[in-house]
Amino acid sequence: MAYSDKVLDHYENPRNVGSLDKNDPSVGTGMVGAPACGDVMRLHIKVGQDGVIEQARFKTYGCGSAIAASSLVTEWLRGKTLDQALTIKNTDIAEELALPPVKIHCSVLAEDAIKAAINDYRAKQDRGAAALEPAATHVGVRHRPNS
């Protein structure tokens, strides 16, 4: 199967690979997918005092398109407020990477990872900085079927 140049670029030179301290109250973690389905995406975001995403890191188990989609969103997230980040749609990701129909689920997974990371960050904030229990760190988050 032929991959677009953008998928190949992100796949060969993935941006922002790695992790952030999941116990840091300013870090949100989103992990979506399942090994049995052939893809697991983990996204970490670090949010500043001003509510702007300062850093994003990913690790992904999955096909080239899943890796490219996660690499791309780490670039897009940086500098965005949480509300701006929530406006990123899977269709934007699919369009940017020119994903074929059978790979649309990779972009859905990336959108879900963003939502899961923001939810995790907000839940932490609600619980207060004192309770440093990481929520949902090792729990896959249900993600809806291909849209």
Partner: protein, 402 residues
């Protein structure tokens, strides 16, 4: 740019140059129709077709009269299973096969189910081999045919077709064997084997694509209904003008397989074992399927925590197949590996390497280095690998399937 190293000989093989040389004259100089009985053009084509029939028969110890030309193993499987099932449906409408068969068998069975046949699909043992007791127990008074492949295309395990055939004989069940992956790799003696129908392909054995054969036993005579109707070629079992050049190619390819099998396999096995030793040294690598009852050229291996399609994408320098069918819309990993009871994540992480006649030791060395480097690279990207290193048992994690 260099062409990728070809390690996908179970998908197809190049036509051996010696085979090409034999085929070419039958395209132009000797173009006659082997069915033409009234002139020399036809006679020389017929002579070539009959020589090829002898060459194919010799490799498998059959009578040339038992060989029917087809367009390939898919057609042979269709003709054998559908042809026998329809001919014998007066005796019963139950068929038996395995879940790890090639789609050409499974889809033929599905089609017969639509015609009112009942099919039992048996799961293999975790080694990939058929459980003979389960097979025996599946036979019913109305079972007319069983179809079991000799060599599995994905994992290369070799079924004990002699033992399976003995069970079939004792219970009066016809036995078809898909041997598309066997020729030139495993010795086949149809004089001794209790097999009634056997499918062959040319292009898995250094012959051309588009040609195959079906063995139809004469003693005791096995009856099948034709699927192709027309001029009554191949004793009415398969009508259609014979593709002389393709047939000549299959004959020569099978002659070479007969001649070189022992030395080819010894060399190929040494290369496969070298590849196995190199790849088994990678952490968390698991061989799929039995290693003993296995053809010498196949290595199917899973690299845990790395997804197969991305690994293939990383290894542009080698041409292999993945057991992960992520390229299809289904997102389902290999049905063969799942039938073995492999966890889905290992099935998603599998790569099939198949070595062949033209593989060199330098290519194996390069492949090992390339795989090791890219598995390492992708594991650095893999959250599962990180969790594994942290000592988290992934089977205890609550994943949500999507």
């Amino acid at each position: 740019m260099n062409r990728p190293i070809y390690l996908d000989y179970s998908a197809t093989t190049p036509v051996d140059p010696r085979v090409v040389k034999k085929m070419v004259p039958y395209l132009y100089e000797r173009f006659g129709n082997p069915a033409s009985r009234s002139h020399g053009y036809g006679w020389e084509a017929e002579e070539a077709v009959e020589l090829a029939r002898e060459q194919v028969a010799r490799l498998v110890h059959a009578d040339p009269k038992e060989i029917v030309w087809t367009s390939g193993a898919t057609e042979s499987n269709n003709l054998a299973i559908t042809g026998a099932a329809r001919f014998h449906q007066g005796n019963g409408k139950h068929l038996i096969t395995m879940t790890t068969e090639h789609k050409a068998v499974l889809d033929t069975m599905r089609n017969l189910e639509r015609e009112g046949f009942e099919v039992t699909y048996l799961d293999p043992l975790p080694t990939g081999l058929l459980n003979l007791e389960a097979f025996s127990a599946a036979i019913r008074p109305d079972t007319v045919l069983a179809s079991i492949m000799q060599v599995n295309n994905e994992i290369g395990v070799i079924q004990d077709i002699n033992a399976i055939g003995e069970i079939c004989r004792a219970r009066g069940v016809l036995f078809h064997v898909d041997a598309a992956q066997s020729t030139g790799k495993v010795a086949i003696d149809l004089e001794a084997l209790p097999v009634d129908l056997m499918s062959f392909s040319a292009h898995k054995t250094y012959g051309p694509k588009g040609i195959g054969a079906l063995y139809v036993r004469r003693r005791p005579r096995v009856r099948i209904e034709a699927l192709m109707h027309g001029g009554g070629h191949e004793r009415g079992m398969r009508s259609g003008t014979l593709a002389t050049h393709q047939i000549v190619g299959m004959g020569e390819a099978f002659r070479l397989a007969h001649q070189d099998m022992a030395s080819d396999n010894e060399r190929i096995r040494a290369l496969r074992d070298k590849l196995l030793a190199g790849l088994a040294a990678i952490d968390e690598a698991y061989v799929n399927g039995d290693l003993q009852a296995r053809v010498p050229h196949n290595l199917n291996i899973s690299f845990n925590f790395v997804e197969g399609e991305s690994l293939m994408m990383a290894m542009k320098g080698i041409a292999v197949s993945s057991g992960s069918a992520c390229t299809s819309a289904s997102l389902e990993p290999s049905y063969v590996l799942r039938a073995l009871g492999r966890p889905d994540e290992l099935a998603h992480s599998s790569i099939r390497f198949t070595v062949g006649r033209f593989t060199t030791e330098a290519e194996i060395d390069a492949a090992i280095a390339l795989v090791a480097r890219n598995v390492r690279k992708l594991r650095e990207l893999s959250p599962l690998w990180e969790m594994h290193l942290e000592g988290i048992d992934l089977s205890t994690v609550q994943w949500a399937a999507h």
